[in-house]
């Protein structure tokens, strides 16, 4: 009797990877999921930070998908290795700072390492030809298979019949006739297949699951690189870009101002790493100051923070400034009127 073949499925938490994995299960393949954590994943972060989102149902969609499928899910931290993808994408960026093609090549390459280490037979993804403008085009699907090193160990069950046969098909582990030929941007075939499998609740694709596809986030990341004169980032940098109002009044420093209590609590965790301002005379935000600034710039920073406090209409607002060494002192300033904040300061 031939042994049951094993496939590792790249699980993003969306509908396509859910369906691709189920198609394989229908053919008797043992499937386990892999979910890569890059640091830019939208999943859960802002919900965890912002108080107003706390009441929303919190669900990690990749875990939820795995539970629907009854498969194991291995969440893999690739934050450090992923930097090369973000900083120097061979195939360039998409509309924002999203290196989607390099990202997919990298993830499939990591999955290849994983299946070799774990004794799995092949890799599956939920890719659909023509679904996405950068990484899922007819011309780029072979690039993913080739440059990742996976070659014919990479099977895309939802569009396999549009592509050359892969090893699992040639070897008869998988019946090509029971795979699909989806193509294009329409979601109707996937929704019909979901209905066939009885999946009624699934994550709706809404601009992807990665902050790098977000225009606003990309502006802040590009600003960070420009301000530092060095195209690098650490985990804390990319976390802080997800939080607060970012205002850069001068090239050398910027303010990260909390917008509500949850963000204030989150930023408070960074008090020992950054100089910061809090309002004393009126309820108001916590603001971290990232960079170098002189006394005049500190005055301006204080006026900006005062503008976002409940004392914005007051003649004067008192703030406490704490420097990077923890030395605190008070400042009293006139809040900066909204019309005196140039648009280009706000990232």
């Amino acid at each position: 009797m031939s042994r049951q073949r094993k496939a590792a499925a790249l699980i993003s938490g969306g509908l396509d990877s859910l369906l691709a994995a189920r198609v394989m299960q229908e053919q008797g393949i043992h499937v386990e999921g892999i979910n890569f954590y890059t640091g830019f994943c939208v999943e859960g972060h802002t919900h965890a930070i912002r108080k107003k989102d706390r009441k929303k149902e919190k669900r990690n969609n990749a875990l939820w998908v795995a539970e629907q499928l009854g498969i194991k899910l291995h969440i893999i931290d690739i934050v450090e290795d992923y930097k090369q993808v973000v900083l120097n994408p061979k195939h360039g960026y998409g509309a924002n700072l999203n290196p989607c093609l390099d990202c997919k090549i990298f993830m499939v390459g990591k999955a290849l390492e994983w299946i070799k280490a774990k004794g799995f037979d092949f890799i599956i993804t939920g890719e659909v030809m023509g679904q996405r403008p950068m990484s899922q085009r007819k011309q780029t699907l072979p690039i993913v298979a080739g440059e990742s090193g996976a070659e014919d160990l990479l099977l895309r069950p939802l569009c396999a019949r549009n592509l050359p046969e892969t090893l699992p098909e040639r070897e008869g582990w998988v019946d090509r006739e029971r795979l699909y030929d989806f193509s294009g941007r329409s979601r109707k075939p996937q929704m019909a297949l979901a209905a066939k499998f009885g999946f009624e609740d699934y994550a709706q694709p809404a601009g992807g699951c990665c902050f790098l596809t977000d225009a606003q986030y990309s502006v802040k990341l590009a600003d960070l690189w420009q301000a530092r004169g060095d195209k690098q980032y650490e985990m804390d940098d990319i976390m802080l870009l997800k939080v607060g109002r970012h205002i850069r009044p001068a090239p050398g420093y910027k303010l990260i101002i909390s917008r509500e209590e949850g963000e204030g609590n989150f930023l408070r965790g960074y008090r020992h790493q950054y100089a910061h301002l809090t309002t004393v005379s009126h309820p108001g935000p916590l603001a971290l100051i990232d960079g170098q600034f002189d006394d005049q710039e500190l005055q301006l920073a204080a006026r900006l923070v005062a503008r976002y406090s409940q004392g914005r209409s007051a003649e004067q607002v008192t703030l406490e400034f704490t420097d990077i060494d923890g030395q605190a002192r008070e400042l009293t300033v006139k809040p900066l009127p909204a019309h005196e904040i140039p648009k280009e300061w706000v990232l």
């Binding site: 094993k6 043992h30 965890a48 930070i49 990690n60 875990l63 009854g70 194991k72 291995h74």
Partner: protein
Amino acid sequence: MNRQIVDCRRLLCPMPVIRVQSAVEDLAEGTVVEAVCTDPGALTDIPAWSRINGHRVVETRSEAGEYFVVVEVGPKDLS
């Protein structure tokens, strides 16, 4: 019984899950792991991860802005 504490404070999901996953990898069946978290998402994510990977959630609780998830390691994967 000895508990292995996994400090996940200040980590946002899914990092707490990844920390628990790493801790559990080298532990024998029946060992108890307690994750201490500040992201409330851990209260749903760690139990979900535990269920699908064959581990048992013994307890979840919240105290003073921290969230605790206690997991008993399940049988090793023989597949």
